[in-house]
């Protein structure tokens, strides 16, 4: 539009970049079909000799993929629902209610976004271990395994998200006060108001926040690795796939890992492709990643 004629150079640059971006994904898919002795041997070949699904079957049975999927789905769903619920509740109070301490609480929420996650790995783990009256602990948090025995341990540290509160609050500011006042005069309680009036109007931002949270929770690795080390039965997809590493002969394992990765990536990829506008908006606001 700014240059004249067909921008060949730009096409070339963008196309080469796009190929470089896509090639790892294609290599992942191609490798997932490779038979014994095909992957990781010299000379390198991009295409598999045949497209059969034996690696996918191997991944599903060897990795116990159904269980890993179930764990991932439960954890992701719990985190996403909780973040949406807590963010929209708090966001509403911060945007539309007047009460003493509101500015302080809002600043607090902003401040929570300053603390990077690595600061919390050690203390969160120890807090879950010493959670009182759970997993065999006494009232002082001694003696047992605390919350680390259950799948809840995977979700708990992510149930509330300061950025989520911030995002919903910013969006709710744009809801006209008159709408709310009208409903209040009609005798609606604040919770009814939040549920019937505010939430429906907040749908776009909730969709964005939900997507961001979903993708992050689905892809989360480090915390899940730690909790699965303590308790392998709650292993999620990324951890389970990663643990298959180096267990087997590389020329056989690599294709199995790749097919497991393809299967685990698909749900997020599809969701993203369907709802990318909402996701991208979230990334733009958060500036993270």
């Amino acid at each position: 539009m700014r240059g004249r004629g067909v921008p060949w150079v730009s096409y070339l640059v963008v196309a080469v970049g796009a190929v470089l971006t896509m090639v790892p994904f294609l290599d992942m898919v191609m490798t997932s079909f490779k038979g014994p002795g095909e992957a990781g041997t010299l000379p390198y070949r991009f295409l598999p000799s045949a497209f059969d699904l034996s690696n996918y079957r191997a991944a599903i049975s060897q990795l116990n993929l159904p269980l890993l999927f179930r764990n991932s789905v439960v954890v992701t769903a719990a985190i996403t629902c909780s973040v949406l619920l807590t963010s929209s509740l708090a966001g509403y109070a911060l945007a539309k209610l007047r009460f003493p301490g509101r500015d302080f609480v809002f600043r607090l929420v902003l401040a929570t976004m300053m603390f990077p996650p690595f600061l919390f790995f050690v203390p969160h783990f120890l807090i879950l271990v010493h959670w009182p009256l759970a997993g065999g602990n006494d009232a002082l948090g001694r003696g047992g395994a605390g919350l680390t025995t259950g799948i809840a341990a995977l979700a708990v540290p992510f149930l509330v998200n300061g950025f989520g509160v911030f995002l919903t609050r910013q969006f709710m500011l744009s809801i006209p006060d008159e709408v709310l006042e009208a409903a209040r005069i009609d005798g609606a309680g604040e919770f009814a108001l939040w549920w019937r009036v505010v939430l429906p109007q907040t749908r776009p931002v909730l969709l964005t926040l939900g997507l961001l949270t979903f993708v992050d929770a689905w892809n989360e690795y480090i915390w899940a690795l730690l909790i699965s080390t303590a308790n392998p039965s709650v292993m999620t997809l990324p951890v389970g796939i990663q643990l298959l590493q180096d267990h087997l002969d590389p020329t056989r394992t690599t294709p199995v890992i790749m097919s497991a990765l393809v299967l685990s990536t698909l749900p997020v990829l599809l969701l993203f492709l369907l709802l990318q506008k909402h996701y991208i908006r979230g990334v733009m606001t958060s500036g993270l990643k």
């Binding site: 640059v13 963008v14 120890l126 001694r142 005069i185 429906p200 997020v268 500036g287």
Partner: protein
């Protein structure tokens, strides 16, 4: 007056936003948010009820852990009962920076190199691609393509690249086809860090492109028109107009990517576990290992705080720069 009619019609609870919106026009706006003291008190209570899940969570999972982390970083604890925590002052911090400690070199220097390398690659790549996409059709499609790595789990990204870097992998396959010898990308201490930097940059290119695209779109078309009237070439336009006006977006990408680079260790855990030797070991990974492999909770917490200070300084620098930019504008 109207309100008496409402229950008969739908009931206030069931009044959807459309109805509320319609009624708004029919009704005088009540500007007073502050009612009588009793209502105000009730509203405060309600507000804090709305906030209670979030506040409770932050108390237990933010304030408490921070306090705990500070305590641990100032203590020696071998991991038995919590009562066995012995305060040792700043010993843990001293140990991190003592002569012979590997924390400053190579761990912290690796961290900075990793962050700097990613920023440089991602920034260069995204400026190039974003400004080229601007001239093409199907911009959305292109951007979606570049965005895919961002929604992919680090385990997939790390494993695919690790496999591509192997002697029988794609990268060496291409090198060999071009007549070059194989490179032991991740096995050689000299190439390991640059190799993971490339992957991190590859994975973060998409979001950088997005931010820069927004920046490019906000440059008024009139600037370009004026330039073309003056007969400026494309290169001149890019250097004289696009880049300077893109500065806020560039800065934003720069700082956010730098912060992400300083903190991230999942990719490195997946690809190299910090090796070979300490060649790709970074501060967050070192913290994780000290705590969970060696049970050295004290220096692990101290390392986390040192890294936090670095992150904080970068964040403050970011705020300062942005504020200054805001005043200039």
């Amino acid at each position: 007056m109207v309100s008496t009619l409402v229950p008969e019609r739908a009931g206030p609870e069931r009044a959807g936003p459309e109805r509320a919106g319609r009624e708004r026009r029919a009704r005088p706006v009540s500007g007073a948010a502050d009612g009588p003291p009793r209502t105000r008190r009730r509203r405060t209570v309600v507000a804090y009820l709305f906030l209670s899940p979030v506040l409770l969570f932050f108390a237990v999972f933010l304030v408490l852990p921070l306090g705990f982390a500070v305590l641990l970083s100032l203590s020696h604890w071998s991991g038995f009962a919590l009562s066995g925590i012995e305060p040792v002052g700043l010993d843990n911090f001293a140990a991190l920076f003592a002569a012979g400690s590997t924390f400053l070199v190579p761990v912290l220097t690796n961290t900075l190199l990793f962050a700097l390398g990613t920023v440089a690659l991602a920034l260069g790549g995204s400026v190039l691609v974003a400004s080229c996409i601007e001239r093409l059709r199907f911009q959305g499609l292109w951007r979606t393509l570049y965005f895919l790595p961002i929604v992919t789990t680090v385990v997939a990204v790390g494993n695919v690249w690790k496999y591509m870097y192997e002697p029988g992998g794609l990268v060496n396959g291409v090198l060999n086809a071009a007549g070059a010898g194989s490179v032991a990308f991740l096995a050689d201490p000299d190439t390991a860090l640059p190799s993971v930097v490339v992957v991190q940059a590859w994975a973060s290119l998409g979001s950088a492109i997005l931010v820069l695209t927004a920046g490019l779109k906000s440059i008024p078309e009139s600037y370009y028109e004026a330039a073309s009237l003056d007969g400026a070439g494309q290169a001149t336009v890019f250097w004289r107009i696009t880049l300077p006006l893109l500065r806020p977006s560039l800065l934003f990408v720069c700082v956010t990517q730098f912060l992400t680079g300083l903190q991230s260790f999942a990719l490195i855990t997946v690809m190299t576990k910090g090796g070979p030797g300490d060649a790709t070991n970074v501060a967050a990974l070192e913290m994780y290992r000290r705590a969970f492999s060696y049970g050295d909770w004290g220096t692990a917490s101290a390392a986390a705080f040192v890294l936090f200070v670095v992150v904080l300084l970068v964040t403050l620098a970011q705020l300062w720069v942005f504020r200054r930019k805001g005043e200039e504008a």
